[in-house]
C-alpha cells in the first residue's frame, strides 16, 4: 500500500485535508490524527522529517503555516516521499498561484482532485504537473 494517508494540518493542529487510502473509522482517524499531529508539530526544523509511528512512518514537511504529513509503509523511500510532497505543493502553487492555507480550505475538492490524480490506491501514478492539472483546468472551464 505505499502511501497510507496524506494529511494537511496547520500550525494550530487543525486538519485542513485528510485523504486516507485505507478505511479507518471516525474514532480511529481522530486518534491517529491527534497522535501524529502532536508528535510532528512538537519537532523543530533542526530535526529530521521522519517520525516512526506505530508500525509505519510519517514523512512530513512544513510549508508556510501548513504541515504536510504523509504516512507510508516502513520500506517506502523517505526522500521520494519528500519529493512527492514538494511536487504536490508546487502543483497547488501553480494552480492557485501562491497557494496558501485558505486556498486549500475553500477549494478542498480541488486539492483532493490533484491528490487523486497523483496517487491511486496508495501508489504514485502521476508526477507531471501539467498532467495533474489538465483535468482540473478542463473542469474549471466547463
Amino acid at each position: 500500500m505505499g502511501i497510507r494517508f496524506v494529511l494537511m494540518v496547520n500550525k494550530q493542529g487543525q486538519t485542513r485535508l485528510a485523504q486516507y487510502y485505507e478505511y479507518l473509522t471516525l474514532e480511529e482517524r481522530r486518534a491517529l490524527e491527534g497522535e501524529i499531529v502532536r508528535k510532528c508539530l512538537a519537532r523543530n526544523e533542526q530535526q529530521c522529517s521522519f517520525v516512526e509511528h506505530r508500525n509505519y512512518k510519517i514523512v512530513y514537511r512544513r510549508y508556510a503555516s501548513l504541515f504536510f504529513l504523509v504516512g507510508v509503509d516502513n520500506d517506502e523511500n523517505e526522500l521520494a516521499i519528500l519529493e512527492f510532497i514538494h511536487l504536490l505543493v508546487e502543483t497547488m502553487d501553480r494552480h492557485f498561484g501562491n497557494v496558501c492555507e485558505l486556498d486549500i480550505m475553500f477549494h478542498l475538492e480541488k486539492a483532493h482532485f490533484m491528490l487523486e490524480e497523483m496517487v491511486m490506491n496508495g501508489c504514485i501514478v502521476e508526477t507531471s504537473k501539467a498532467n495533474i492539472l489538465a483535468p482540473i483546468q478542463l473542469m474549471d472551464k466547463a
Binding site: 500500500m1 505505499g2 496547520n10 494550530q12 493542529g13 487543525q14 486538519t15 485542513r16 485528510a18 487510502y21 478505511y23 471516525l26 482517524r29 481522530r30 486518534a31 491527534g34 497522535e35 502532536r38 508528535k39 519537532r43 526544523e45 533542526q46 530535526q47 529530521c48 522529517s49 521522519f50 508500525n55 514537511r61 512544513r62 508556510a64 503555516s65 520500506d75 523511500n77 523517505e78 526522500l79 521520494a80 519528500l82 519529493e83 514538494h86 508546487e90 502553487d93 496558501c100 475553500f106 478542498l108 475538492e109 483532493h112 487523486e116 491511486m120 490506491n121 496508495g122 501508489c123 504514485i124 501514478v125 502521476e126 508526477t127 507531471s128 498532467n131 483535468p135 478542463l138 466547463a142
Partner: protein, 981 residues
C-alpha cells in the same frame, strides 16, 4: 404541487453552500460545536430534498464535516448513492467523493452501486470513468471486484492513457479482493510494463512493487521486464520501485542477484538524486550484502550521508548503517565517530538511531567500557533519552541469557548504579534481571546481596516510586540469599525501616517476607553456632563465664546496629533497653576490659565472620526489632501485608516462650535439639533453603491438560457483558494500544484565533509572514526546481554545536570500540543456568502467513502454469506477449531477449569509457564475459549449464530441449525462469 416546487426553489436559493459553511465555521471562536450541529440539522433536512442541487450540496457539506471534523455520515449512505447516480458531472463528483470517504466493506448500500459503477466505467466521458475507478480503488469489495472485473480488463488496455493509468492502480485492489481476477487481467497488466509512456510505467511498476512485496516468488518470471526497466528508465520514481522489486527478488535467485548488482551500483554512482541513491544503497545493503565491492560502495555513500548537515540525510545514513551492521560490522566501526557524535544530536530520532548502532557494536570485549560511557552519558541527557539508553543497555546485556556478560559482579553493580540514576524508569526490567541473575548465576550472589543491601539501606530511594520494583527485587534477593550477607542484622534494620510505609502494599509484603527469611536465618545460625560452641568446649568452660562472654558481646553488637541503622531507630533501641538491662552489661564489660578488646577484634572481623557472632542478646534484640516494626501492621488494611506480618509475629510467638529457656539451659545444651523452638526454626530454615531456579518458558505446556477443561472455548459472549468494562490504555503514545481512546480535546484546545482575520488583510500579513519564515515557502522565483532531487533540507545554517561532552565521549569510546581488543578476563565467566528447552522466548521467525495465497496461486498459474503444459504455453504466450518485437516465448529463450535489451541499454552509456563492455559487444553479445571471475564462479556452480551457455547461440534447439528438460525437473518446485542462461 406548486407549493412544493416553490419551496424547493426557496431552499436552493437560501441554502448555504460549503463555502458559506466554512466561512461560518471560521467566524465561530467559541461554540463551534453548536454551529456544526445546527449545520448538520440543516443538512439532514436538505438531503431529503428532491432537488438534485440541494441534495448534492448537502452531501458536499456533510462530507466536509466528516472528513475534517469527524462527524459520522454513514446515515446518509443512501443519499450518497442517489447523488452518485446524478447525470450532472458536478453532482456525480460530489457523490463519488462522499462514497470513497465514507463507504467501507460493511456499508449495506454497496450492493446498489454495482450497476452505477459499471455504467460509469463504460462511459465515454473519461472523467466519469476516472471517478468510478478512483472510487473503486478505495471501496471495492469482493463482490464489486468480481462483478466489475470485465470492465477493468477492458480499461487496462484502453488507448486513453489518463484512464488506463487509473485502471492499473485499481487492479491492485481488485486482485486483493478477488484473486480470480488475476486470471483475466494479469496479462494485460504485464503488457503495460512495456508501455513507452512514463506515467503508465510508473503506475504499473508501483502495482508490481506492491504485489511483489507480499509474495516475491511468484514474480520471478517477470525479472527480465524489470531488468529492462532498471537499465532503460530515466524516471527516478520508476527506478526506485524497480529497485524495491529487485530487493525482494534477488535473495530468491542468486543468478539474478549477480546480474543486477552491477547496474544498481552504476545507478548509485551516477545518479544526482539522493532518493534514488539512497534506494540503491538500501537495496544493496539489505539484499546484496554478499557482494563485497557493492557493499563497500554503499558504505562510502552512507558516509556521505552521515557527514551531511541535513538531518534527514544523516538520519537515513544511520538507518542505512544499521542495516549494513547486521552482516558487516566493520561498516559501523569505520564510522563510529560520526555515530557517537550523533548521540548528542538535536533530534531525538537521530539520537535513537545512533544509540541502536552503538548497541550493535557491543560485544563481550567492550561491553564494560561502552556501558560505562553510556551510563555516564545518560546522566547528562534528558529523561526520555536517558531511559532509552538504559533500556537498550539492559536489553543488550540480557540478550540470550546474558550472553555477552563475563563479569557478573560488574554487571550486578551496574544494575545497582542504574537504579540510582535520577530519571531511571526501567524499574521493571531491572527488577526482573536482578532476580533472574540471582537464580541463574550462583557465583554472583554475594555481590548481588551486597548491591541489594546498598539499595535497601538508603532511605532516600524509598521516596521514588519508579524504584519500588527494584527495591522489591532487592528485598527478595536479600531474603533469599541472606547467607551471603555480611551483616544480617543490618539487612533486617533496612527491611523494617519506617520509611517502608511509602511502599505499595504488595512490595511491602515482599519486604516483610524477606525479613522473615532473615530472621529464620539468624536464629538458625545462632542455634548451629551454639551447638558448635557447646560441643567444641563441652566442659572446660565454667558456665557462668560463657554466659558472661555472651553478655559482654552484646553492647558492641547493639552499638553496631544503632550506628549503622538510620537514626530513626533510636526509639526502637529504647524498646529493648529495659529488657536486656543494658546497665549491668556495661558494668560487666568495664570489669572485663581485657575481654572487651577481644570482642572488639571480633566486631572488626564482622565482615568475614559475622555468622559466628550471633549472640543471645543480639538475637533477642533482633526479635524485638521485628516485633516492634511489625506489630502496627497487624492492623493493616492490605491482606497481603497483614498476613505476612502475622506469619512473622506468630512465629516469634511460638519460639519466644522457649528461647530464653534454651539459652539458660547451658548445662544441658547438648539436648538443645530436643527443644521445640529449635525444631521449628530448623523446619522453617529448611523450608526456606530450597533453592529457586529459573522457570522454563515452555513449562506451562508440559502441564498435562486436565480432562474436561476446554481451553479454547469461545468467550465471545463475555464481550457483551464486559463490553463496558474496558481498561483504559495507560499510555496514549504507546505502540501497544492502537487507537487509544482520546477525546478531541486537542483540536478544540488549540482552536485558533489567529486565522480569524478576513482574507483581505491576510495577504499583507502573508507577505509579512513570508519574510519572517521564508524557509517554509516555495522560492518566489518560479524556476522549475530540479525535479530530480528532493527539496533541500529545512535549513543548513544550523550549526553543529558539538559540546565538549561529546568529544569526551568520542575519545572515551575510541578505544573501547576497537573490536580486536583482547578481553582481559580477570576471572572466568561463571556458570549461567540455562534451560535447554526454549528458555529464551521461542520467537521463531514465522513466515508471514500468506493471506493472499489465492492471489499468489493465481499469479503463479498465470505466469508459470503454462510452463508445465508446453503445448498450450506457446499459444498463450504468443498471444500475450505478442507485442514484443523479435521475441519468442519468454521461457524458451529469455537470454537472447535479455541481451537485446542490454544492447539497447548500452547506447546511452557509450560516451563513458567502458571499453570492456564495448569490446565485448564486438566480440559477441554474451555479456557474461565482461566479468571473468563471475563466469568462473558460475561454472563451478553449475558446470553443465555453463558449458551449454557458451554454445547456445549456435544451438537454439538444444537450448530449447534443455529448457524443457529443466522444466520437467523443477516443475513442482519453485519454477525459476531460465532467462539468465
Amino acid at each position: 404541487m406548486a407549493g412544493g416546487t416553490s419551496s424547493s426553489i426557496m431552499e436552493t436559493f437560501f441554502q448555504r453552500n460549503l463555502e458559506d459553511l466554512i466561512k461560518g465555521l471560521r467566524l465561530q471562536l467559541i461554540g463551534e460545536s453548536a454551529f456544526i450541529s445546527k449545520a448538520l440539522d440543516e443538512i439532514r433536512r436538505e438531503v431529503k430534498s428532491t432537488d438534485p442541487h440541494t441534495k448534492s450540496n448537502a452531501i458536499h457539506k456533510l462530507s466536509y464535516l466528516a472528513s475534517l471534523h469527524f462527524h459520522d455520515m454513514s446515515w446518509a449512505a443512501f443519499h450518497v448513492v442517489e447523488v452518485m447516480s446524478s447525470s450532472r458531472f458536478a453532482h456525480k463528483r460530489i457523490g463519488y467523493q462522499a462514497a470513497s470517504l465514507s463507504f467501507h466493506d460493511d456499508t449495506p448500500v454497496l450492493l446498489l452501486i454495482t450497476n452505477q459503477l459499471r455504467k460509469d466505467l463504460t462511459s465515454t466521458n473519461e472523467f466519469e470513468v476516472s471517478l468510478a475507478l478512483e472510487c473503486l480503488s478505495r471501496i471495492s469489495t469482493t463482490d464489486l471486484a468480481r462483478d466489475l472485473t470485465p470492465e477493468i480488463f477492458t480499461l487496462l488496455s484502453t488507448t486513453k492513457l489518463f484512464v488506463r493509468r487509473k485502471a492499473i492502480g485499481v487492479a491492485l485492489r481488485v486482485f486483493a479482493k478477488y484473486p480470480d481476477a488475476v486470471r483475466v487481467c494479469f496479462k494485460r497488466l504485464v503488457e503495460n510494463l512495456e508501455s513507452p509512456d512514463q506515467q503508465i510505467l510508473s503506475a504499473v511498476v508501483g502495482v508490481f512493487c506492491e504485489l511483489a512485496s507480499n509474495d516475491p516468488g511468484s514474480y520471478l518470471p517477470l525479472a527480465p521486464e524489470f531488468y529492462r526497466i532498471l537499465i532503460d528508465s530515466k524516471n527516478n520514481w520508476v527506478l526506485i520501485k524497480v529497485l524495491k522489486i529487485f530487493a525482494k527478488l534477488a535473495p530468491l535467485e542468486p543468478r539474478l542477484a549477480k546480474r543486477v548488482v552491477e547496474p544498481i551500483c552504476e545507478h548509485m554512482r551516477r545518479t544526482g538524486a539522493k532518493s534514488l541513491m539512497f534506494e540503491c544503497v538500501r537495496t544493496v545493503v539489505s539484499s546484496f550484502s554478499e557482494y563485497e565491492s557493492a557493499v563497500k560502495l554503499a558504505v562510502v555513500k552512507i558516509r556521505e550521508l552521515l557527514v551531511d548537515d541535513d538531518p534527514n540525510l544523516k538520519y537515513l545514513g544511520l538507518r542505512g548503517l544499521s542495516i549494513v551492521t547486521l552482516k558487516h560490522s566493520w561498516a559501523v566501526l569505520e564510522n563510529k565517530e560520526v555515530v557517537i557524535k550523533s548521540l548528542s544530536d538535536a533530534d531525538p530520532n537521530i539520537k535513537l538511531e545512533s544509540l541502536r548502532l552503538v548497541m550493535a557494536m557491543v560485544s563481550e570485549s567492550n561491553v564494560v567500557e561502552i556501558s560505562r560511557v553510556l551510563v555516564n552519558y545518560s546522566l547528562k541527557s534528558d529523561p526520555e533519552f536517558c531511559n532509552e539508553i538504559l533500556g537498550s543497555i539492559l536489553s543488550t546485556c540480557s540478550r540470550n541469557v546474558y550472553e555477552i556478560i563475563v563479569d557478573f559482579d560488574w554487571y550486578v553493580s551496574l544494575l545497582g548504579e542504574m537504579s540510582r540514576i535520577p530519571h531511571c524508569q526501567k524499574g521493571d526490567e531491572i527488577e526482573n534481571q536482578l532476580i533472574d541473575i540471582g537464580m541463574r548465576v550462583n557465583d554472583v550472589r554475594p555481590e548481588l546481596v551486597q548491591v541489594a543491601r546498598d539499595l535497601l539501606i538508603d532511605p532516600a530511594l524509598l521516596g521514588n516510586p519508579f524504584l519500588h520494583r527494584i527495591l522489591s527485587a532487592a528485598a527478595w534477593v536479600s531474603g533469599e540469599y541472606v547467607e551471603f550477607s555480611r551483616n544480617p542484622f543490618e539487612l533486617m534494620e533496612a527491611l523494617l525501616q519506617p520509611r517502608t510505609s511509602l511502599l505499595p502494599p504488595s512490595i511491602r509484603a515482599v519486604y516483610i517476607h524477606s525479613a522473615f527469611k532473615v530472621l529464620v536465618f539468624c536464629l538458625h545460625s545462632f542455634i548451629l553456632q551454639k551447638g558448635h560452641f557447646t560441643s567444641s568446649c563441652p566442659d572446660n568452660l565454667v558456665p557462668g563465664i560463657s554466659a558472661l562472654a555472651l553478655k559482654r558481646e552484646m553492647p558492641e553488637s547493639s552499638d553496631l546496629i544503632t550506628c549503622e541503622a538510620p537514626p530513626t531507630h533510636g526509639e526502637q533501641d529504647e524498646g529493648f533497653n529495659p529488657r536486656v538491662s543494658n546497665q549491668s552489661c556495661e558494668d560487666l564489660s568495664v570489669e572485663h576490659d581485657g575481654d572487651r578488646t577481644i570482642s572488639h577484634g571480633q566486631t572488626s572481623m564482622h565482615d568475614s565472620s559475622e555468622k559466628n557472632s550471633f549472640t543471645y542478646e543480639s538475637i533477642v534484640n533482633l526479635i524485638n526489632v521485628v516485633e516492634l516494626a511489625l506489630d502496627p501492621l497487624t492492623g493493616s488494611h492490605d491482606v497481603e501485608v497483614l498476613e505476612r506480618a502475622r506469619n512473622v509475629l506468630c512465629f516469634i510467638e511460638l519460639i519466644k516462650a522457649e528461647l530464653p529457656e534454651c539459652l539458660v539451659q547451658k548445662e544441658t545444651s547438648v539436648d538443645s535439639e530436643d527443644v521445640k523452638a529449635f525444631k521449628i526454626i530448623e523446619l522453617m530454615s529448611d523450608a526456606f533453603s530450597e533453592e529457586l531456579g529459573p522457570v522454563s518458558v515452555s513449562a506451562q505446556e508440559r502441564v498435562p491438560l486436565p480432562e474436561g477443561l476446554i481451553l479454547k472455548e469461545n468467550l465471545d459472549d463475555l464481550e457483551t457483558i464486559c463490553g463496558e468494562v474496558q481498561v483504559p490504555p495507560s499510555n496514549l503514545f504507546s505502540f501497544g494500544s492502537p487507537y487509544g481512546e482520546e477525546k478531541g480535546v486537542f483540536f478544540s484546545d488549540l482552536h485558533s484565533k489567529e486565522e480569524s482575520e478576513p482574507s483581505t488583510e491576510a495577504t499583507s500579513l502573508l507577505t509579512e509572514h513570508r519574510k519572517r519564515h521564508g524557509l517554509y515557502y516555495l522560492p518566489s522565483e518560479k524556476n522549475e526546481i530540479l525535479a530530480n532531487d528532493y527539496p533541500p533540507a529545512n535549513d543548513s545554517k544550523w550549526k553543529n554545536n558539538l559540546n565538549n561532552d561529546t568529544e569526551d565521549l568520542v575519545k572515551l569510546t575510541a578505544q573501547s570500540l576497537v573490536s580486536n581488543k583482547k578481553p582481559n578476563h580477570a576471572k572466568p565467566r561463571p556458570v549461567v543456568v540455562k534451560l535447554d528447552d526454549g528458555d529464551v522466548g521461542s520467537i521463531s521467525a514465522k513466515r508471514p502467513e500468506a493471506k493472499d495465497d489465492l492471489l499468489s496461486g493465481a499469479v503463479r498459474e498465470v505466469l508459470l502454469g503454462s510452463d508445465v503444459i508446453p503445448t498450450s504455453q506457446s499459444n498463450e504466450s504468443n498471444k500475450s506477449f505478442g507485442k514484443r518485437k523479435g521475441k519468442e516465448k519468454l521461457n524458451m529463450e529469455p537470454s537472447t531477449e535479455l541481451k537485446e535489451n542490454l544492447g539497447d541499454s548500452e547506447k546511452p552509456d557509450l560516451e563513458k569509457p567502458r571499453s570492456r563492455r564495448s569490446k565485448h559487444r564486438t566480440h559477441g553479445k554474451d555479456r557474461r564475459h565482461k566479468s571473468p571471475e563471475n563466469i568462473n564462479e558460475e561454472r563451478e556452480e553449475n558446470g553443465l549449464r555453463g558449458k551449454q551457455k557458451s554454445s547456445h547461440r549456435h544451438a537454439r534447439h538444444k537450448a530449447r530441449q534443455r529448457a524443457d528438460a529443466l522444466l520437467t525437473v523443477v516443475s513442482q518446485t519453485p519454477v525459476i525462469p531460465d532467462f539468465l542462461l
